[in-house]
Each structure stands twice: as C-alpha cells, then as structure tokens.
C-alpha cells in the first residue's frame, strides 16, 4: 500500500503522512486543511473568468430582484406611438411591436430565468438525491424500480420530454417548472446512486455498521455529506441547462405565455422583425447567452476546484 513518493509529490497538496513533523508539535498551517469552501474561494481568486462570471450572476440576480427600481416603465404597458421604436435615450433598447419598453421587459425576464434556474432544478435534485440514496443504499427491488424509471426518463431527449409534459399541462411557467423537474431528477438520481454505491463499500460506512448505527443515520449522516461535491457539480450543470430549456420551450410557444416576459418568448415574438429590427431579437438572446455562459464558466471553475473531492 505504500505510495510511491513521485505520485504524492506531484500533487500540490502534500498528504499529511509526508507533511507531518512529530506528533508532539503538529503545525496546523502546514496541513492540508482546506475545506470545500476554501477551495472555491481560492479558485475564484485565481480564475478571473470564473470570478467575473460570479459577479455577472450576482448582478443579474440583483437586477431581477430590484427590476421595478431600475426602470421607469411597466413591463406590460403598451404604447402604440412607441411601436417598434428604435433605441433612444428614453428606450435604450427600443420598444417592441406593442410599444413596450424592451429593456424593461428584459429586466423582468431575468426573474423568470433566475426562478427557472433555481426552483425546478432544486426540486428535481432533492427528489433525485433521495431516490438515488435509497436506490444505492438498499439495492434490490427498490434500486431496480428507481433506476429503470431513470433509464426511461433519460431515454427521452430532455427537451422533447419537457415539450410533451409542458404540452400536456397546457404551457405556462408552472408547466415548465413541472416539466423540468420531471426530466432533471433522473441524472441526479444516477450520480448519487453511483456515489452511494461506492461510499457503501468504504470502510467508514462498514465501521458505522459494526458500531450498530441505524441505517437511516448511516445514509444521511455518513453517505449524504460525502455526496456534497457531486451535488454541487450537478447543480452547476443543471442550472444553465434549465435556463436554456426554458428559453427553448418559450421560444416554441409552449413555455411562458404572453403577456408574461421571458427571454425565450421575447426572441420568439420578435422573430418576424428580425431583418428590419434585429436588435429586438438579438438583445434577449445576448441576455440568455451571458447568463448561461456565466453559470458555465463558474461551474467549470467549481468543478476544477472540487476535483480532488470527486475522486474520493
């Protein structure tokens, strides 16, 4: 079991075995005692792109929250005289086909994307985590049923399934919520199941069993906390995907319904004016791209930072 020292030293984080002076005087500063949070902080300090992305996300979330204070207009107030007005000092992004201020609608659209990014994703991940834990921990029939169900869900192209679910529920934001939650739990369940299976074989779980610790305690106190890095990684994948999916569904007309604002819906509504008034369709697209890209850049950084934890 002796590690060859070349592999140890290759890592920036010297393992404690190599890095410890005699027990009498352990020197805390030399130990590899970085927590997950520390690692992410270090990553943000070093990775400029991820840091910038983080700032963008925070700003956009703030913009969503304080939208009414950032614009003098109402998102749904139509004004025929401003119909398709080009960008000007009053309307920095111009007005749409009903004379509504485009920038205002963009701001309010942020709310939809932020909500879509957070809620259905979280719901799906909580469901997926619990199912994955049970499937991995108990195995047997429970595992079989849950995993075949996940197989079935994963067999659909997620957008197509979301389309069908959303269609069945007659569109609207709520139906997107449900559609995305119905689609996204499966991947989480799979990842958490795999992690649970590997954790179950770990000696510390066996130790807990030998101590007579209850199964539920083992599951939630020993295994679940060790799935945390995986969950964070899944989150960084799921959020941008959900935002994109919502935009796509709305663009197809089966997501957000007018008059509510959604970036995807805005692109859809402005499509007919693409060649004469290109900024109308381009602006919401840029918003989607920036938001999703920011999440992906940040997610990449976070994944790198958590890499050693994922390999445990």
């Amino acid at each position: 079991m002796q590690n060859s020292d070349i592999l140890i030293l290759n890592d920036q984080n010297l393992p404690p075995d190599l890095g410890l002076p005699p027990a009498e005087d352990i020197d805390a500063e030399l130990l590899d005692n970085e927590t997950m949070g520390d690692r992410i902080k270090t990553m943000l300090r070093k990775n400029k792109l991820a840091a910038a992305s983080f700032v963008v996300i925070v700003l956009m979330c703030l913009a969503a929250a304080f939208a009414p204070f950032l614009t003098p207009y109402e998102p749904n107030k139509t004004s025929l005289k401003d119909r398709l007005a080009p960008p000007s000092r009053e309307h920095i992004l111009g007005c749409d086909e009903l004379g509504r201020d485009h920038f205002t609608r963009l701001l309010y659209g942020t709310r939809v994307s932020v909500m879509i990014g957070l809620f259905p994703t979280s719901v799906a991940m909580i469901i997926g985590t619990v199912l994955g834990l049970f499937a991995g921990f108990y195995g047997g029939k429970i595992d079989f049923v849950i995993m075949r169900l996940a197989d079935v869900v994963l067999a659909f192209p997620s957008l197509l399934l979301a389309m069908v679910v959303s269609y069945t529920l007659k569109g609207g934001i709520i139906s997107i919520f449900l559609a995305l939650a119905a689609v996204k739990w499966a991947r989480t369940a799979r990842v958490i199941r795999a992690q649970t299976l590997s954790m179950k074989e770990k000696e510390f779980v066996e130790a807990a069993r030998s101590l007579g610790v209850k199964k539920s305690t083992i599951m939630f106190r020993h295994i679940l906390p060790n799935c945390l890095p995986n969950l964070i990684v899944l989150l960084t994948l799921n959020i941008p995907e959900s935002i994109l999916d919502e935009a796509s569904l709305s663009f197809l007309g089966i997501g957000a319904q007018p008059p509510s604002t959604s970036w995807g819906l805005m692109v859809f509504r402005c499509k007919p004016f693409l060649f004469e008034y290109p900024w109308l369709a381009i602006a919401p697209g840029v918003a989607i791209l920036v938001f999703v890209l920011a999440f992906n850049f940040l997610g990449d950084g976070v994944r790198d930072a958590l890499d050693p934890y994922l390999k445990d």
Binding site: V152, A155, P157, Y167, K170, A247, F251, L252, I254, N296
Partner: protein
C-alpha cells in the same frame, strides 16, 4: 460478447415500451376532446359520443395503448386529425430531411470537437487550451434558436452568402448544421479533453514513457484509444441526440423534418401526428444509445474478451 449484445438488446425493449406508454398516457390526458379538435365546431354534440365510441376513445387507456402499439408495430400510426393524412407516410417523408441534418451536424461536431479536445489536453493551460475551451463553452451555452436567427441575419440577410431557409441543396444545410453541430462540438471537445487528461495520469502512460516512446506516440498510441472509448459512445449517442435537437433547428430554418412536424403538431394539437413523431424520434434515440453501448463493448477488450 454475443451474450452481451443479446442482453443489451433485451434491456432496450422494456425501456422502449415504457417510454411509449408514458408518452401515450401524457398525450392522452390532455384536456380537449380530440373529436372536437378534428371536426372543429361543425359537429352536433350528440354525435361526439358516437365518434368517441367508434374511435375507441372510451376504452381503458391500456387497451387503447395496446391497440396503438400493435398498429404502430405494423407501421400504422393512425391518421393526422388536421391534415387527414397517414402519419407513417408523413414520418417517412420527413425523416430523410432530419437524418440528413443530423449527419451534417454530427460531422461538424466531430471534425471540430475531437481535434479541439485533443489539442486542448495536450496544450493544457495554454492560450490554445483556453481559446478552444471558451469556444466549446460558448457552444454549450448558446440558445440554438437564437444562434440560428443570428446566423440567418448575418450570413443570409446581411452578407447574402447562404440561403435563409429551405432544403433544396446541401448549401441550405450549412447554417443549420453549424448551429446544431456547434453545441455537440462543445460537448465532445470538453469530454475528449477531460478524458485524455485523466488517462494521461495513468500508470501505463508512465510505462509507455519509460519504454522510450516519444510523446506523440504516448498520446496518440497509448492515451487516445483509452480516452476515446467514452467519447465514441458519446458520439454515437449524439447522432441520436441531434435528432432531438433538430426540433429547434428545423423550425427556424424551415426544413420539413421530424422536428418541424412535431412542433407544428403541437401547435395544432394534432395528437396522432404528435404521438407518432415523438415516439419515432424516441425509438431512434433508444436504438442509437443501444448501438453506442455495443460499440463501446466492441472497442473495449475488457468487455469484448471475457
């Protein structure tokens, strides 16, 4: 190996049936009576019941499903409510357009994605790496529909290099293939890169170097094959996945493929058409995934040679 194949095919079947059932149930609980949709308002209320009975809509849903599946296996997906045409004939017409688009897109994805991934891994943490990876991330983050519109505006409308919409010659497929392929290229590049980097950490890479092999031989000869195993699977799966992605692209570029049919059917609430096309796409994806798995098994001696 033969047994592995049989097993894998046997596993695919229940999934296919379950997928069909879920679709069927989802689409059949939609509020709104199909008879009304079909006949619009020109129907006396008392006749609705008669039609419902005749169409078997009053049977238990499982019976309806069974009947549907038996017919579907015979190639009969029923009649489109709106267009009064045979759904299977419509699918037959649309499918070539979609598969063409998917193959073009896959080519774009592979030709860009794989070399980009390899180069990024070899030049890890250099400018090249960062450029390729940002480009890949763009592909993954780009809303397909918006990218399509943007390209139409730029290359078709402003520059006039390529046609805006249509499906008459390969030229018409360039923009849609790029739009659709970019996303997959991003995924493939990222997967190739991370796999290759992971494989390069293995002991047998150290062995290969200790043998005196050159770095190119080490990467191409020893690392790449191991790294590409999952990528090949992913590629095979993506051909199928691109069919799903075609839904968006087709409706923007006016290609009358499966995706277009699906979106149109959704808009007109044309149930048999929607059901048929979605089921068809999903079936192809399941088969595609199965092929991907078999491909993996074939390439990996650990599975191939028991």
């Amino acid at each position: 190996m033969a047994r592995y194949i049989i097993k894998r095919i046997l596993v695919a079947f229940p999934v296919l049936i379950a997928v069909s059932l879920i679709l069927f149930v989802l689409l059949n609980v939609v509020p709104g009576d199909p008879v009304t949709v079909m006949m619009r308002e020109h129907i006396k209320p008392e006749l609705i019941e008669v039609f419902r009975e005749r169409m078997g809509l009053n049977d238990p849903i499982l019976v309806q499903f069974g009947r549907y599946m038996v017919n579907a296996l015979r190639g009969d997906f029923g009649m489109s409510y709106k267009l009064q045409r045979d759904v299977s004939a419509m699918i037959r017409e649309a499918f070539p357009h979609t598969i063409k688009l998917a193959i073009y897109a896959a080519l774009v994805a592979w030709i860009i994605g794989i070399p980009a991934g390899i180069l990024s891994a070899v030049k890890q943490n250099t400018l090249v790496d960062r450029a390729f990876m940002s480009f890949s991330l763009m592909g993954v983050s780009l809303p397909v529909f918006w990218a399509g519109l943007l390209m139409q505006y730029l290359f078709a409308f402003k520059l006039g290099w390529l046609p805006v919409t249509g499906y008459y010659s390969p030229r018409y497929y360039i923009l849609p293939a790029i739009v659709l392929g970019w996303q997959s290229a991003g995924t493939i590049a990222r997967l190739t890169r991370s796999n290759l980097l992971e494989v390069m950490k293995n002991d047998y890479i150290r062995t290969a170097r200790a043998k005196g092999l050159g770095e190119t031989v080490v990467v191409v000869g020893h690392a790449l094959k191991n790294a590409m195993l999952p990528v090949v699977t992913m590629m095979a799966m993506q051909v199928a996945g691109l069919l799903g992605g075609a839904v968006m692209t087709e409706s923007i570029f006016g290609i009358p493929g499966l995706g277009r049919i699906t979106v149109d059917a959704m808009g007109t609430r044309d149930m048999p058409l929607l059901q048929g096309s979605v089921l068809f796409i999903t079936a192809i994806i399941i088969i595609g995934n199965m092929v991907a798995d078999l491909l993996y098994a074939f390439l990996d001696p650990r599975i191939r040679v028991e």
